[in-house]
Amino acid sequence: MSKIKVTGSQIKKSRGEKIFEIVVYAIATVFCIYCLFPFAIILGSSFETEANFATYGFPIIPKDFTLTAYKLVLGDGQIFRAYGVTIFTTVAGTLFSMFLTITMAYPLSLKKVKFRNVITFFVYFTMLFGGGLVPTYLLITKNLNMKNNIFVLIIPVAFSAWNMFLMRNFFNGIPHELSESAYMDGANDFQILWKIILPVSVPGIATLSLFYALGYWNQWFNAMLYLEDNRLFPLQYLLMRMLRNMDAMKEMARTTGMASGEVPANSLRMATTVVAIGPIVLLYPYVQRFFTSGLTVGAIKG
């Protein structure tokens, strides 16, 4: 008797649980479709024949499949160049950023560095207050004379106080005993940082490098402010210009020897977008865990 009762309640419960389960899976699935929908349009439209855009609009599945836009992207000198600029700034920038970040974060993580609170405040204050756009603009254009210089995409954005404190939090988690015996053996601070601390900080370094690299890959603001020479444009700014003015598209057509009327504007834009986010899409599944850990290992606090 009692056994039947239990089974009955279990059936009743499992029905409720089933609805709960369906709702949970439905919400997750709908949100994922919402997230993927724009990418489907980008990808689908990049393979569409240009004439179809005016009649059928942007497709998710192209009506007349063509690779014209991609041939243009690969044949276009400017897009290729922009890709080179973006890769250069991302690699060189990330290295430089990590150099600045680690050399600041490591001393600030050591208790024996007595002035660390002073330096910490010096850096922390910049997170609360700053000069703003105009003074920075004047500094870069007038004092530093960095207009039309590719390093304007790296140097003014090289250091992030937020990332530095994140790195310091990673260093804080390393046990002191590791470096102590090296001190006894007469190693200096540079050697200890290089040979002992950095090898055990690989997850932290990977996380911060990815944060910086993503910032460099996606930046366009400094290009818009300080660059006029189109040979220096990074990919993201090129995208912005392709979106905003037809002239930029015509300019591109010229470099490929195509009459300006024939430029497949819409599919070319989307194909360039695919090329711009391609590397992120391909790398992302492998590095996602680093982004997640970066946020959860003491990221909430400065």
Partner: protein, 322 residues
Amino acid sequence: MKKGKTTGMGADRSGERLGLKGGLSELWKNRLLYLMTVPSIIWVAVFCYYPMYGILIAFKKFSYKEGIWGSPWAGLENFRFLFNYNGVGRIFFNTIFLNVLFLISTTLLSIVLALVFVEIKNKVYNKIVQTIAIFPHFVSWTVVAMFMSGIIGSSGIITRWVMEAGGEDPLFYNTPGWWPLILVLLRIWQGAGYGTIVYVAAITGFDQEMYEAAKVDGATRLQQITRITLPLLKTTAIMLTIMGIGKIFNGDFGMIYALVGDNAGLYPTTDVIDTFVYRALRQLNNLGMSTATSLFQSVVGLILVFTTNAVTKKIEPDAAIF
């Protein structure tokens, strides 16, 4: 570890008690470590502190020829000009209004999604779903602007749907009324999944015994959420919201400018302080007013951060920033 997470300002003042002689000997003793910090200190001095000197422009009638110091003083003229500027109230309103909408929508959705994610017991599906949901955060706003032209542009997919369903052309790029909604939907797209990371971490950190006990008492999974998880998440949510309020006066330039650009027809609902500062520099070429606006924004922002931090300290001392 907790202590190490805070910036530790004022926690120990050993550095200040050393005196000149002690200070010099400290510098010498750890000279290599101090040497290491020099490149970053120079960077911060040049790119963060030197521009603070440029704030003087807010009180000057700036001319490129005379430079910052040489330009004649203008008192509060730039501020007077700013506050008399047609539409300045709208700009302040838009900044706060959009940020409030963003904060509410992403917080609510992040919590709902986090609750959903931890309930998906199928490991593979769970991983796929979280990976997809977080990904949009890593895409730049220029890419978003690009696909938006394919969604709500004149040949855009949604524009087509509306017209095929017999509706009028919604003219998204000419109708400012649509944009708070469009921006909120995009902010959710971009940030709600990413926002789940903190909440999922918090939920998985909760004491599992409570849930076991609830199960024994016959609580359904929905009851476990409403009676255990949500009350426990309250602190995290409140903290993140308060920190969000501290940034409520900062418009998202990257987002707004990439999507709206110089489309003046959309300014009534999309123009924010940061896009205005940019425009004052590049289009109006009024450096004094641009700087005055930034300064006003920074000061209000600073007050907000200190206020929200004081509030945080009262509610949850551990979460306070300083």
